[in-house]
Amino acid sequence: MFRCNFFGFAATGLLALGLSGPAAAQNDFIIVQSTTSTQNSGLFDYMLPKFQDETGVEVRVVAVGTGQAIKNAANGDGDVLFVHAKASEEAFVADGDGVSRSDVMYNDFVIVGPPSDPAGVAGSSDIAVALAQIAEVEAPFASRGDDSGTHKAELNLWADAGVDVDAASGGWYRETGSGMGATLNTGTGMNAYIMTDRATWISFGNKGDYEIAVEGDAKMFNQYGIILVNPEKHSNVKAEQGQAFIDWVLSEEGQATIADYKIDGQQLFFPNAN
């Protein structure tokens, strides 16, 4: 065989890294397809260790937009789905991809905007009026545009306000096609209004001089649900551990853990399992 030096080097390096790497991953784990809001707000980092300590089951979270999470779960690439788009979740269960859906918790959406407030909506608590006003003055608005739970909720609110955002796409209505954090980074960079869930906003580190402009409308309620991926459809689903996780999240202890999670003294999520 030819003996290139870097082969030897690479082999030695690999061996060393392999040995020093983390111990072989335990088999007792589940994959949860979830959303960026629960991950980025730090909720999972706070609540998962408690479940792991109790059960020894490791929870691996894939945090993507709700749309992508649902598609991944429908492919069988996950044991539990934990997202926030009730209509899509119910469709997921109706299609036989999920076993059943339970409410877990809620928070709310807010509209954040620049201090100059070009549409004059600051302090409003009527989302339909505020959105109509933003459309009226054609103030820039940054949308997720990624089929996520937040994006779906936002589109419903526009429809409710009687605004056709498709017509304005590329003009004052700008779809970033990316996650909540990326959209906040982009939106604040172009003085646009942005709709975000409150948890992501509170924990977001690049707020600049942005403030919450619109909040408190009951229509901006943001419900999270949890679903076991159907093991009859995907035989690789770890139904037992997955169900154990769901049961824990819905239990008194799990719900209390969610309520306990605070940033700067503010509660981010409000448990409401039945």
């Binding site: 290139c4 030096n5 870097f6 994959i31 894939v62 980074n185």
Partner: protein, 235 residues
């Protein structure tokens, strides 16, 4: 905006604090990338050498294909590997999705064309220099490839480094097939993407600086090996 000196201080602080999470991420990054580059070299070096050293029908077509594949978008490779490894994909039974192995597979696919295409060019140039000698000595095709690869080893080191640079810097493929799972598949680039999305731009840049430093160390090590080997060759 945060000052760059602040970012520098944060990066140095991160390294000095020897945060186990950061170390874990660095080690996984290196493990994934170096394994992928080694696998890509195992495939790409012989492949590139054979295409570079011999004439055969459709050769130009093969070269165009290899050169084109150098520009494979990482996100496309990520999607292809995801579809292959997904539980509903053809290789779903292996259960490799969201593991470091999946990330290695994706990066190997990304890097192999780079190694093969650049090796082809290096070997082709060297071969035109050696062709008459090979012919007069009656060297067989297998020995030819070995001799060319061995004599071109220092140029091929740079080829491997080009592959390393591509793999260690990409985020599009590994974030799809790895899932950026904390303590399992989180590497430098996916952490940078995550921290950026959390709005922690300073921390994200500090991590970028660490990534760059690692690349400098790897390059420096390989150059040192090359230097030592070159001197040894003339003793």
């Amino acid at each position: 905006m945060d000052s760059f000196s602040g970012i520098l201080v944060e990066a140095i602080g991160l390294i000095l604090s020897w945060d186990p999470d950061v170390i874990e991420i660095i080690v996984l990054s290196l493990r994934v990338t170096l394994t992928a580059v080694a696998a890509a070299c195992l495939i790409g070096l012989p492949l590139g050498a054979i295409v570079g050293a011999f004439q055969f029908p459709m050769r130009t077509g093969v070269i165009i294909a290899m050169n084109t594949l150098m520009g494979l978008p990482p996100v496309v490779v990520g999607l292809l590997v995801y579809l292959m490894l997904s539980a509903s994909g053809p290789m779903g039974v292996l259960g490799l999705l969201y593991t470091p192995t999946a990330m290695i597979v994706a990066q190997t696919i990304l890097v192999t064309p780079i190694v093969a295409a650049l090796t082809r060019q290096v070997i082709e140039d060297l071969n035109s220099e050696y062709a008459e000698q090979f012919a007069s000595l009656g060297v067989g095709p297998f020995d030819r490839v070995l001799a060319l690869l061995w004599d071109a080893r220092y140029s091929l080191l740079t080829v491997a480094l080009a592959g390393f640079g591509r793999a260690v810097a990409e985020v599009g493929a590994v974030i799809i097939v790895g899932g950026n799972i904390n303590h399992v598949t989180r590497v430098m680039t996916t952490t940078i993407a995550l921290e950026t999305s959390k709005g922690n731009l300073q921390l994200a840049l500090a991590l970028g600086l660490i990534l760059l430093t690692i690349a400098v160390i790897v390059n420096g090590l390989l150059m040192a090996i090359r230097g030592t080997a070159t001197r040894a060759a003339y003793v």
